[in-house]
C-alpha cells in the first residue's frame, strides 16, 4: 500500500524581550542557576503576574507578518499540571482565545512554492529546566527560564513530508528572526519544534492517529525524527497494529523516537481563564503602530529580487535571512547584472563566510565592493580567475577592486589585434604542434592555447584565444 504522511508543527519561539512575560526578571541565557528567578517566577505565596507589553507587541508583529487576524481581545488561561519545573502548578497560556488566529507561510520545496496554513499563535510562559545529571537520585531544578515569553505557533496539518516540515521550520525560523521577535538560537532553545506526525493510505482524507514528537532542537533532528516516526508507524500498521496517540521524544544518539511515559497521565489540563489577568486588549491604533514599524517582509523582498532578474530559487536563498537580503539588496543597487552578482553572493561569498564561520554582517567585502568586482567581469576587464584573485585581495583588506586591479595590472587583454599578433608569433614558433594539430591531434591545440596564455601572463581571455587560433590554423 502507498502511504501519505501528514505533519503539523507546533513551534515554541522565545520572544526576545529583556524581561519575562509576567515578571521583571531578566531573560538572558546562561546565567547561574536560579539567579534570574524572581519571586513571581518561583511562585512564592501571594505573588501575581503582570504581562509584558513588548511580548504582546511581538506576538502582534508575528500575526501581521503571516497575514493572520489579531484578536482585539484575547484571554490568558491556566493550564494545570504538576511538574517540578512548573512552579505555580499551572502554565499561563492562551487557550480558547489566542492573540493571533490564522495566517499562512509560503515555503519552497524542490523549487515549487507551497502555502502552509497556520492555525494560531498564542502567548505563553516557558517552564524552568530539569537537570538530570550530577545528582544521585535527584533532579535539579533551575527556574531561570521559567516565565520567558513564548509564542507558540501552530500549523495546520498541511505538511506531507519531512522535507516539507524542514522547509516550513526553516521558513518560520527565518521569519521570526527577520521581524526581530526571536533570536532563533536553536542550541539555546530559543526556537523549538514539536511535530505531530501521522500516516494514512494515499488518497484517504481522514487523519490517522498521531504521535507528538517533542523538543526537536535542530532542523536535522526534525527531519530524522519524522523520517523515523513515519517508518515506525507504517511498520506497525502493516503488521496489523494500531498507533497509540502519545508524546514521543527523539533520541538523537539512537536516531529513534521513544514514548515519554511521564507526561501520559497529565492530559486533563483543566484550562480556565486566569483570574489574575484581565482580558488582553489590543487596540486597532496599537496594531497600526506596530504595522508601520514592520520591516519589508521576505515575501516582498523575494518578489523584488525576481523582478531584478534573479531566479525564484536565487531570490529564495538570498532572503533566507534579513541580513543576507539587506546585503544583497545593497549590492544590487545600481548593478548592471544583479543575477550574476547573486551568483557571487551565493557562491564565492557564502563559501568564504562559511569557511571562516562568519555571518553575512561580518563580511569583509562590502556590497559596493562586490558590485564593483562584478562590473569588472561584465565589462571584460577581469577573467573569472582574475576576479577570484581580486576577491581574495579585497577580502584581505587590500582595498577596493579597481585599486587592486590597477595595482596588480590585472587588466585582461581584450584588444584582438594585439592578441592576434601574439597568436601568430606562437604559431610561427611551434611548427611541430601546428603539424600535429593539423594531422588530427586535438591535444596539440590545448598546448598552443597554453603558450598564448603564458605569453600574455594569463591576461588573455582563453575563449577569445582559442577562437583566434582556430581561425588562423584553419586558414
Amino acid at each position: 500500500m502507498k502511504w501519505e504522511t501528514v505533519i503539523g508543527i507546533e513551534t515554541h519561539a522565545q520572544l526576545s524581550t529583556k524581561s519575562k512575560i509576567f515578571s521583571g526578571a531578566a531573560t538572558a541565557f546562561g546565567a547561574a542557576p536560579n539567579t534570574q528567578a524572581c519571586a513571581v517566577d518561583i511562585a512564592l505565596p501571594g505573588v501575581l503576574p503582570v504581562a509584558n507589553r513588548e511580548a504582546v507587541a511581538k506576538a502582534v508583529r508575528f500575526g501581521l507578518a503571516v497575514g493572520a487576524s489579531i484578536n482585539r481581545r484575547s484571554i490568558f488561561a491556566r493550564k494545570n499540571y504538576f511538574y517540578p519545573d512548573l512552579p505555580k502548578g499551572y502554565q499561563i497560556s492562551q487557550y480558547e482565545t489566542p492573540i493571533v488566529q490564522g495566517g499562512a507561510l509560503a515555503i519552497f520545496v524542490d523549487g515549487a512554492e507551497k502555502i502552509v496554513r497556520l492555525t494560531r499563535a498564542h502567548l505563553e510562559e516557558d517552564a524552568g529546566k530539569s537537570l538530570h545529571e550530577g545528582f544521585h537520585d535527584f533532579t535539579g531544578i533551575d527556574l531561570n527560564r521559567a516565565g520567558t515569553p513564548l509564542l507558540e505557533i501552530v500549523s495546520e496539518p498541511d505538511l506531507r513530508s519531512a522535507q516539507e516540515a524542514v522547509a516550513y521550520a526553516r521558513g518560520l525560523h527565518a521569519l521570526v528572526r527577520w521581524i526581530d521577535i526571536c533570536d532563533g538560537n536553536m542550541q539555546e532553545g530559543s526556537f523549538r519544534c514539536d511535530a505531530n506526525v501521522s500516516v494514512r493510505p494515499a488518497g484517504s482524507d481522514t487523519l490517522g492517529t498521531r504521535s507528538e514528537i517533542k523538543n526537536l532542537n535542530s532542523f536535522r533532528f526534525l527531519e530524522r525524527a519524522i523520517e523515523f516516526e513515519v517508518r515506525r508507524q507504517i511498520e506497525i500498521i502493516e503488521d496489523g497494529g494500531t498507533i497509540v496517540q502519545e508524546t514521543r521524544l527523539y533520541d538523537a544518539g539512537r536516531d529513534e523516537t521513544r514514548s515519554m511515559r511521564t507526561k501520559e497521565d497529565a492530559h486533563d489540563y483543566r484550562y480556565f481563564p486566569d483570574p489574575d489577568l484581565l482580558p488582553l486588549s489590543v487596540e486597532q491604533a496599537w496594531v497600526e503602530e506596530i504595522r508601520s514599524a514592520m520591516p519589508e517582509l521576505p515575501q516582498a523582498k523575494r518578489s523584488a529580487f525576481v523582478a531584478l532578474g534573479l531566479s525564484p530559487y536565487q531570490a529564495g536563498v538570498l532572503t533566507a535571512s534579513r541580513e543576507l537580503a539587506e546585503y544583497s539588496a545593497a549590492a544590487f543597487a545600481g548593478a548592471a547584472a544583479p543575477a550574476e552578482l547573486a551568483n557571487w553572493i551565493t557562491g564565492a561569498l557564502s563559501a568564504r563566510l562559511n569557511d571562516e564561520g562568519l555571518d553575512i554582517t561580518a563580511s569583509r567585502i562590502t556590497p559596493a565592493q562586490l558590485r564593483a568586482l562584478a562590473a569588472r567581469i561584465s565589462d571584460g576587464t577581469l577573467s573569472g580567475k582574475m576576479a577570484r584573485e581580486v576577491f581574495d585581495a579585497v577580502w584581505a583588506g587590500e582595498g577596493d577592486p579597481d585599486a587592486i586591479i590597477a595595482k596588480r595590472g590585472l587588466k585582461q587583454i581584450s584588444d584582438s589585434s594585439e592578441l592576434e599578433k601574439i597568436c601568430d608569433e606562437v604559431i610561427a614558433g611551434n611548427a611541430r604542434q601546428v603539424e600535429d594539430y593539423r594531422s588530427g591531434k586535438d591535444k596539440a591545440f590545448n598546448s598552443l592555447v597554453g603558450q598564448v596564455m603564458k605569453a600574455t601572463r594569463g591576461k588573455a581571455n582563453p575563449q577569445q584565444v582559442s577562437e583566434i587560433l582556430k581561425r588562423r590554423l584553419a586558414g
Binding site: 503582570v50 504538576f82 484550562y271 483570574p275
Partner: protein, 485 residues
C-alpha cells in the same frame, strides 16, 4: 488605653502624651496575658514590633508623622510580611518566613504603623468559623465556646478583645463581614480591585479582597486610606485617584435611599438577627434615611455558584504548594508523584483538601461547561440583580449572617451547613461590590448581631458615612464582650 479607637489613639500620639513604644508595649502585654484564652495571634515578634514603634516615634520627633504613624495593628496571617513567618494557618506554610512584603503591609509600614503580630485564620481563608486552622480554633470573647466566625476570626477577635485597635483581614465570600458580625466589631470589604492583592496569599483570585477591621466606621476609613490604592504589581488593581475615605463621615444621611432586599428578610435569618436588623433600619429612618424594597432574585444561587468558582480557582492557586521551593515537604516518599501526594495530603487540612477536590472536579474534562461556565453565567445574573437594585437605592442593607456566633464544633462535621452561614455575604463578592458589617444589637444570649451595608462600586465613602452616622446615634459598637475590661 486598649479600649480607645484608632482615631483617639492617633490624637494621643499626635499630642505626644503617648508614645508608640508605650502603646505597643501595652498591647503586647495584653496579648501575652490573653492570647492563650482566645488563640487569635499565631506569630508574635516583640522585638520587631518595638523596633517599628521606636522608628514611628522617631518619625514623629522629626515631624514626619502621618495619621497612622505609631498605631499598632494586627495583620492577618494571609499577608506576607518580610521577616515574619507567614503561614495562612496551614501546616503547609508553617515554616515559611516571607522574603517580601505584601502591598498592604508595605503601605502600613510606609504610614509608620506597627505590626503587633500575625493573626489566626481559617486555613488559606477557607472557612466560616476559624476552626480550620493548624494552630487550633479561635475563641469568641463574647462566649468562649463559640466560634468568632471566619476566615478572619483571629483579626476579629484581636479587635473585639481589645488586643489590637485595628486589624487587616480578607474577604472572599464574607471572611471580613461575617466574623466582624459575630464578634461585634466593624469590617469593610472594598470594591474588588481597590486594595492590591499583591502579597495577599490567594484563595480565589477573582473574589479575594483585603480590607480593614476596627471598632468604628471612622477607624475603618483611616485604615482604608492606607490600604487602598493602585499597585502596578496586581493586574486587577484599579488605577483610580486616591480617595480620602474620612471626607464624608460627618455628612447628613437625610434622604439617603436604603434598599432592603426582600430575599434578605424572607427566611433564613434567626428571629434575634432579624429583630436587631429591623431595629437598626428603624434607627436609620429616624436619621432621615428612606427605605425602599428591592429584590435580588438570584441571590439564593450565590452559595452554589460560589462553591463552584471559589474551589475551582483555589484548586489552581494552591497547586504551587508542592514541597519543592518552600514550605512543608513530607519526610518519606517513594518518588516525585508520591512526594507531591504525601506533601499535599499531610500539609493541607481537611477543608482545604475538600475544596481542592471540588475545584479539580468542576474544572475537569467533561464537567467544565456544566459547572464552571454555568456558574460564571449565573454569577453575571447575580451581578445584574445588584445593578438593577442600585437603580432604586444608594445602599443596600440586611443581616450579615443568618445567626449569631455558633458553638465550636456545631457545624464542623457538616460542610454544607457551614457554607450556608455565608448566604448573605457571598453575592457581594461575586458582583465585586463593597460590603461592610457593623454591630447593631445583641441576641438573647448577649451575642452580637451584624448589620450588613452593601454599596455600589466605589461607594465605600458613602457606606462609611451612613455607618458613622448610625454610630453617632447608637452605642452597639461601644459594647464590650463580658470579661474584657
Amino acid at each position: 488605653m486598649h479600649n480607645a479607637t484608632i482615631s483617639s489613639l492617633a490624637a494621643e500620639l499626635a499630642s505626644r502624651r503617648l508614645s508608640s513604644v508605650e502603646l505597643t508595649r501595652h498591647f503586647l502585654h495584653r496579648i501575652k496575658q490573653l492570647n492563650e484564652r482566645y488563640n487569635c495571634f499565631v506569630t508574635l515578634d516583640e522585638a520587631r514590633s518595638l523596633q517599628q514603634a521606636q522608628a514611628a516615634d522617631g518619625l514623629r520627633a522629626e515631624g514626619r508623622a502621618g495619621p497612622l504613624t505609631g498605631i499598632p495593628l494586627a495583620q492577618k496571617d494571609i499577608f506576607c510580611a518580610r521577616g515574619w513567618r507567614t503561614t495562612c494557618a496551614s501546616k503547609m506554610l508553617s515554616n515559611f518566613v516571607s522574603p517580601y512584603d505584601a502591598h498592604v503591609v508595605e503601605q502600613f509600614n510606609a504610614a509608620g504603623a506597627v505590626i503587633l503580630g500575625k493573626t489566626n485564620m481559617d486555613e488559606f481563608a477557607m472557612g466560616s468559623s476559624n476552626e480550620n486552622s493548624c494552630f487550633g480554633p479561635v475563641r469568641n470573647p463574647w462566649k468562649e465556646d463559640a466560634v468568632p466566625g471566619g476566615s478572619s476570626g483571629g483579626s476579629a477577635v484581636a479587635v473585639a478583645a481589645r488586643l489590637a485597635p485595628g486589624a487587616t483581614a480578607t474577604d472572599t465570600g464574607g471572611s471580613i463581614r461575617q466574623p466582624a458580625a459575630l464578634t461585634g466589631i466593624c469590617g469593610l470589604k472594598p470594591t474588588y480591585g481597590v486594595v492590591s492583592r499583591y502579597g495577599m496569599i490567594a484563595f480565589a483570585s477573582s473574589l479575594d479582597q483585603g480590607g480593614p477591621m476596627a471598632r468604628t466606621a471612622g477607624d475603618l476609613a483611616l485604615m482604608l486610606n492606607v490600604m487602598a490604592g493602585f499597585d502596578a504589581r496586581d493586574s486587577t488593581s484599579l488605577e483610580r485617584e486616591r480617595e480620602d475615605y474620612t471626607r464624608g463621615l460627618g455628612q447628613s444621611i437625610r434622604g439617603m435611599k436604603v434598599g432592603l432586599p426582600r430575599e434578605f428578610f424572607a427566611e433564613g435569618a434567626s428571629a434575634a438577627v432579624t429583630k436587631a436588623v429591623d431595629a437598626a433600619i428603624t434607627e436609620l429612618r429616624k436619621l432621615g434615611c428612606e427605605t425602599v424594597e428591592v429584590s435580588l432574585p438570584n441571590m439564593k444561587l450565590s452559595v452554589p455558584v460560589y462553591y463552584v468558582l471559589a474551589p475551582a480557582e483555589a484548586s489552581s492557586n494552591l497547586a504551587r504548594y508542592d514541597g519543592v521551593r518552600y514550605g512543608y515537604r513530607a519526610p518519606d516518599y517513594a518518588d516525585l508523584t508520591d512526594m507531591y501526594k504525601k506533601t499535599r495530603a499531610q500539609g493541607f487540612g481537611a477543608e482545604v483538601k475538600r475544596r481542592i477536590l471540588i475545584g479539580t472536579y468542576v474544572l475537569s474534562h467533561g464537567y467544565y461547561d456544566a459547572y464552571y461556565i454555568q456558574a460564571q453565567k449565573v454569577r453575571r445574573l447575580i451581578a445584574r440583580d445588584f445593578a438593577e437594585a442600585f437603580k432604586a437605592c444608594d445602599v443596600i442593607m440586611g443581616p450579615t449572617s443568618p445567626t449569631t456566633a455558633f458553638r465550636i464544633g456545631e457545624k464542623a462535621g457538616d460542610p454544607v451547613q457551614m457554607y450556608l452561614s455565608d448566604i448573605y455575604t457571598i453575592a457581594v463578592n461575586l458582583a465585586g461590590l463593597p460590603g461592610m458589617s457593623i454591630p447593631c444589637g445583641l441576641d438573647g444570649d448577649g451575642l452580637p448581631v451584624g448589620l450588613q451595608i452593601i454599596g455600589n462600586y466605589f461607594a465605600e465613602a458613602r457606606m462609611l458615612n451612613v455607618a458613622h452616622q448610625y454610630q453617632q446615634a447608637t452605642d452597639w459598637h461601644m459594647r464590650m464582650p463580658p470579661g474584657i475590661q
